[in-house]
């Protein structure tokens, strides 16, 4: 499951797009991990995430579910929770990593983002990253893909369930004044079952793209 690895778009835009996973390892540190995961999620909440889902509840940051309910489910639920979250600022991520390091809960943490930025942050915080997963991009019959400007939205959901047709539909709605670029971005984040669709980045991209796009029907 490498669904935060292949986010497309300009380097400038990716500067404001980081994904963080909290990931207990089955058979290695599952036992008793619930309070530790809860503590790490409390730290996430304090560092301005732009989206988040805990697998115990599967409701993203823009749903009606309160932070307390999410935290309680993590601590008291039957299943081990994995947590997926998304941030728009390097400063937030750096602070997050500093607090994760201090917390020293022993659960694996993954950060997806520009390698050079993560390298700088790791050095500043004093972390020694262990493993890297590199994307060699899309292979095969790439002629069938939607265009790159649509893929920069859809690849924010690595499972591919933010539909390219939905992106076009929302470009059309923004263009015709039926919704705002922010509301469209929150709507586009909804199908992403892992909560790693970044609506702030999506809004920026919609604002850039809408004036130059002509859309009849999706």
């Amino acid at each position: 499951m490498t669904h935060s690895l292949h986010r497309e778009g300009s380097i400038d835009s990716l500067e404001r797009d980081f994904v963080v996973f909290i990931y207990p390892a089955r058979g290695f540190n599952y036992k008793g991990n619930q309070p530790k995961v809860r503590h790490l999620v409390e730290i996430i909440y304090q560092n301005e995430p732009v989206n988040m889902i805990a697998t115990a509840l599967r409701e993203n940051l823009y749903s009606e579910v309160s932070h307390e309910e999410v935290l309680d489910t993590i601590e008291n639920g039957d299943e081990t929770t994995r947590v997926y979250s998304c941030f728009k600022s390097r400063d937030n991520i750096k602070q997050l990593l500093t607090e994760f390091k201090e917390a020293d809960e022993g659960i694996s943490i993954m950060v997806s983002g520009l390698v050079d930025r993560v390298r700088d942050m790791a050095a500043e915080v004093g972390l020694s990253p262990h493993t890297i997963n590199l994307s060699l991009g899309i292979q095969g019959n790439t002629k069938r893909l939607p265009p790159a400007d649509i893929r920069q939205f859809t690849t924010m959901c690595g499972h591919g369930v933010v539909s390219p047709h939905l992106v076009r539909d929302h470009i059309r709605k923004v263009k015709t004044g039926r919704t705002s670029s922010w509301d469209a971005s929150v709507a586009l984040a909804k199908p992403c079952a892992c909560g790693i669709y970044n609506p702030y980045r999506s809004k920026e991209m919609l604002d850039d793209l809408t004036p130059v796009y002509t859309v009849s029907r999706w």
Binding site: M1, T2, H3, S4, L5, H6, R7, L14, V19, A25, G27, F28, N29, R82, L97, F100, K101, E105, G106, I107, S108, I109, M110, S112, G113, L114, V115, V118, A123, S128, P129, H130, T131, I132, N133, L134, S135, L136, G137, I138, Q139, G140, N141, T142, R144, L145, P146, R151, T154, T155, G158, H159, G160, V161, V162, S163, P164, H165, P191, A193
Partner: protein, 241 residues
């Protein structure tokens, strides 16, 4: 997925949510093309239908159609892995599990991604090409492993071949010196498939997030490039069980 004709009011709201455009109008109502639908559950999960006309297909949990759901719905748990998703924990917990060692590399072929999905016939082209090249290191706990009928030829179970999935991940762990043959095989088979896949290589890091230079050289020599953004295990995990 199904649309109950007697309830559907033909508003069309569900249609753009389908990543594979399986929902279309038939007269005054919407219908789901059952061949195309890969059972990702998105249309139902987002709760867009004003009259609750969307419903799960009665065969969705029956083998072999169940394969579609397990490999396409991000919230479905795959029995073989016990985790939600189309692969194993791969690099995410490598700091704890040590599954991929410094002299090894992990290679993942994410078939069907992004969004297009892939028929099992196409996946078989990949598994057969890997088998022909003598690459039989597909991880045992990877869900794809259980779809293979004959590891020697990479042939998939006959009854699965008409199915299609949104994504499935073929994960291979090899000693580093075997990375070139794996990448070369993937390069060749990429010309034969009708759909798309994403390709990943993962390996342990040196100090200061240094990517192993020989891994980068192997990627370049095979005619691939790597993207500027990556997924990085920050080394904060430890085992206590």
């Amino acid at each position: 997925m199904l649309i109950r004709e007697e309830l559907c009011v033909g508003c069309g709201k569900c249609q753009p949510y389908c990543p594979t455009a399986a929902i279309h109008f038939a007269g005054l109502v919407s219908v789901v093309d059952q061949d195309i639908c890969y059972e990702c559950g998105t249309c139902l999960r987002v709760g867009i239908c004003p009259v609750d006309a969307l419903a799960e297909h009665p065969m969705v949990y029956e083998y072999p159609r169940a394969l579609r759901k397990f490999f396409s719905d991000p919230s479905a748990t795959h029995k073989a892995t016990g985790i939600q998703g189309r692969g194993t924990e791969e690099s995410k917990t490598n700091d704890v599990t040590g599954r991929v060692k410094p002299d090894e590399a992990g290679i993942a072929i994410e078939v069907g991604r992004p969004t297009l999905g892939m028929g099992l016939h196409d996946i078989q082209k990949i598994s057969q090409a890997l088998a022909r090249a003598g690459i039989n290191e597909i991880e045992e706990c990877n869900p794809i492993h259980s779809m293979i009928a004959d590891p020697a030829t990479g042939t998939l179970k006959e009854e699965l071949l008409d199915e299609r999935v949104l994504s499935a991940i073929i994960e291979i762990s090899v000693p580093k010196e075997r990375v070139p043959v794996v990448l070369q095989t993937i390069k060749e088979v990429s010309k034969e498939v009708d759909s798309v896949f994403m390709l990943d290589v993962f390996s342990t890091l040196g100090p200061n997030l240094e990517i192993q230079p020989d891994i980068l050289q192997m990627i370049t020599d095979a005619g691939f490039t790597w993207r500027p953004n990556a997924k990085i295990n920050m080394g904060l995990g430890r085992a206590w069980e």
